[in-house]
Symmetry: C2
Subunit: 399 residues, 2 copies
């Protein structure tokens, strides 16, 4: 299939070809494609092939490429597929293969607006049970619209960035006043992020059918969360400092075209959704995450049962006329499956800290200084082949 | 004081000199300073004066200038003050004065992250009474921290941009399911916006004392709001589509240096705030807004009694380690005074539509198609002189 050596268990086979931004030595950061354990340095290869827009690959972010739109994305993908399949291209490509171990991956795109949804029924139900034990776990609006809110775009960081434990206000239920200090309930949120390429016009909603015209691809998102800060601040205007200190994303953006073979139908929605959220071909993806704490697997959240399609999230986000821009990122919200070991946050995995996890012989609840969390994800096709999204990782440093 | 003719009632006297971005005919948008009813075209004047960085004024946004930091902002202001005071500069400046009536003002800066606070006690109390009539109007956290949330940066628009009535879901209290349609409760929010110039580092809070190191100046903000969409969506993650369709800002950014003469002490805070929010010289500004609906004054909200200082808002926003970027905008939240005709939104002015306003002989509640809202603002010094922030305006067009 390709003249490039690829380990059988590599996330980045010859059909994947995700794009990212790498730094190699002292050279300027630029765009590469991942294949096996190597990076194709795209700018010189595209120049050698006299590709239109070859200079876009010399840029330090994917934004200009993302702005080109789906026909150009698809043409680029086809060119890349040819490069790695065609033995004739070996001479021009091979000199520009760089080991991934020799590069430092950067944030792949400059984030415009960041929206975080809340699309997993299991997760929303779990948090409802934890925060409002005396009422229905799901709030009345939850099955009528994909609940979401805006997060902080400027604190989205590259995988590998250390996460400084945030400080802030918290208040114990029986205390009369809040206290200030480092978060004692630092947590993760395992999410899938959708990267917008083609912008839309202010005042014009994006229909569910236009999802693939606007969204280029996906990344893994870890939306670090300080549960104690969040609990005290979030009524009535939603999460703020409990989330805004950092959100990590994986470095390789996997295209929807590569993911297409892993598309699965959206589970049935009941009650029926309003017409602007309805569609015949609403898509989900058969993706499974794997969460490791200090190297040990603690959870394997499945994406495919999530309640809301990413096409519905985009349609909802824009139905009031809000525009999207190149570089917008919207994330699914925490992905949790029905099994205990499929929950996408420690507040769920440890039931608010009351049921510690045993990890390598030690009890764990929320994150401690020095803890390292790595999330990997794999998409599975109907044929059983796998395609990786890579990983996002971060280590907690003291406040 | 200046060789330039300025009408006595002009918002833009010789001490103000706010910066903005104008478009003149077919020429590229670039940076100007307002004086009287004219714009000083700064790029050619700065070039003629061989000013370092003169080319920054030829840019289509203020961002590069904002990134220079306070010493450069102050030096630029001093240069501008000299230009308009010094008769000797008349020959180089006069050819580059353009009537404001001949230019189209643009969005003055590219917005990075947008945060909206909720800092007016009168406003928060009014909304508490309207939304939660059976409990305390202020929630327990309100006097301990400046409540805030992230808004949509990509839909911040220049003054004068038409506002398309947003559509979305709403649910009547007694209905079993939501319906979809154009908002029936379209509203304004009168706010003061703070424009960040100097960025901060991730992981490092900005203290209350560093406010003037980071914030360049202020604009008037109209945070258009669809109350029916907001009411149905906002629990538990806060406002989303009810706000994200558009936020208008005034075109001229008034510097903190120009505003300094209008600084007033912050009213006493009780209970005392936590140490990271405390400071000896917490500042507020003596600014009064004037809200016109179709040309008729309907409200005059005063800024000076607002509960939280902008220095506290910035300290809170960053205390968890979140960084700020050049172009960040954070707004006060709706400004409402104690009097009925000082409320900064129609939901308050008409008490959720139950007490219509009589405007030019007609009853008004929420905004109708064709309505035009214009907000002006003036700062007043201890000596009684006035300095204008200009205006922000927008007209509602049908869904």
């Amino acid at each position: 299939m390709t003249w490039i050596d690829i380990a059988e268990d590599s996330p980045f086979g010859a059909d994947n070809l995700p794009l990212g931004v790498f730094r190699y030595g002292d050279e300027e950061p630029r765009i590469g494609a991942a294949i096996g354990d190597q990076v194709i340095d795209l700018a010189p290869v595209a120049s050698a092939h006299m590709l239109d827009g070859a200079q876009l690959f010399a840029q330090p972010t994917l934004n200009a490429f993302l702005a080109l739109g789906r026909p150009a994305w698809r043409a680029t993908r086809n060119w890349l597929l040819d490069l790695v399949r065609n033995e004739n291209d070996r001479d021009t490509v091979e000199p520009h293969l760089i080991p991934q171990s020799a590069v430092t991956m950067q944030l792949p795109f400059e984030v415009a607006d960041y929206v975080d949804f809340y699309a997993s029924e299991q997760h929303a139900s779990n948090l409802g049970r934890l925060f409002r034990p005396d009422s229905e776990p799901l709030l009345p609006n939850w099955k009528h619209l994909p609940v979401g809110y805006h997060g902080r775009a400027g604190t989205i960081v590259a995988s590998g960035t250390d996460i400084v434990r945030p400080s802030g206000q918290r208040k114990a239920p029986d205390a009369t006043a809040p206290t200030f200090g480092p978060s004692q309930r630092l947590d993760i949120e395992v999410e899938l992020g959708f990267v917008v390429g083609t912008p839309s016009a202010l005042g014009t909603p994006v229909s569910v059918d236009a999802f693939e015209d606007h969204v280029y691809g996906v990344v893994i998102v870890n939306d670090w969360s300080a549960r104690d800060l969040q609990a005290w601040e979030y009524v009535p205007l939603g999460p703020f400092l409990g989330k805004s200190f950092a959100t990590s994303i994986s470095p390789w953006v996997v295209s929807l075209d590569a993911l297409a073979a892993s598309a699965v139908p959206l589970p049935a929605q009941d009650p029926p959704v309003l017409p602007y959220l309805a569609g015949k071909n609403l898509v989900n993806y058969d993706i499974t995450f794997e969460v490791r704490l200090n190297g040990h697997v603690v959870s394997t959240p499945p994406y495919k049962d999530i309640y809301w399609s990413p096409a519905q999230m985009l349609a909802h986000l824009t139905v009031n006329g809000a525009s999207v821009r190149t570089g917008d990122l919207y994330a699914s919200g925490t992905v949790s499956g029905p099994e205990k070991n499929q929950r996408g946050s420690f507040i769920e995995l440890t039931w608010a800290g009351r049921e510690p996890l045993l990890v390598d012989g030690r009890e764990h609840t929320f994150l401690e200084d020095g803890d390292e969390v790595t999330i990997t994800a794999w998409a599975t096709t109907a044929g059983g082949t796998r395609l990786g999204l890579g990983k996002v990782t971060g280590r907690i440093t003291p406040a």
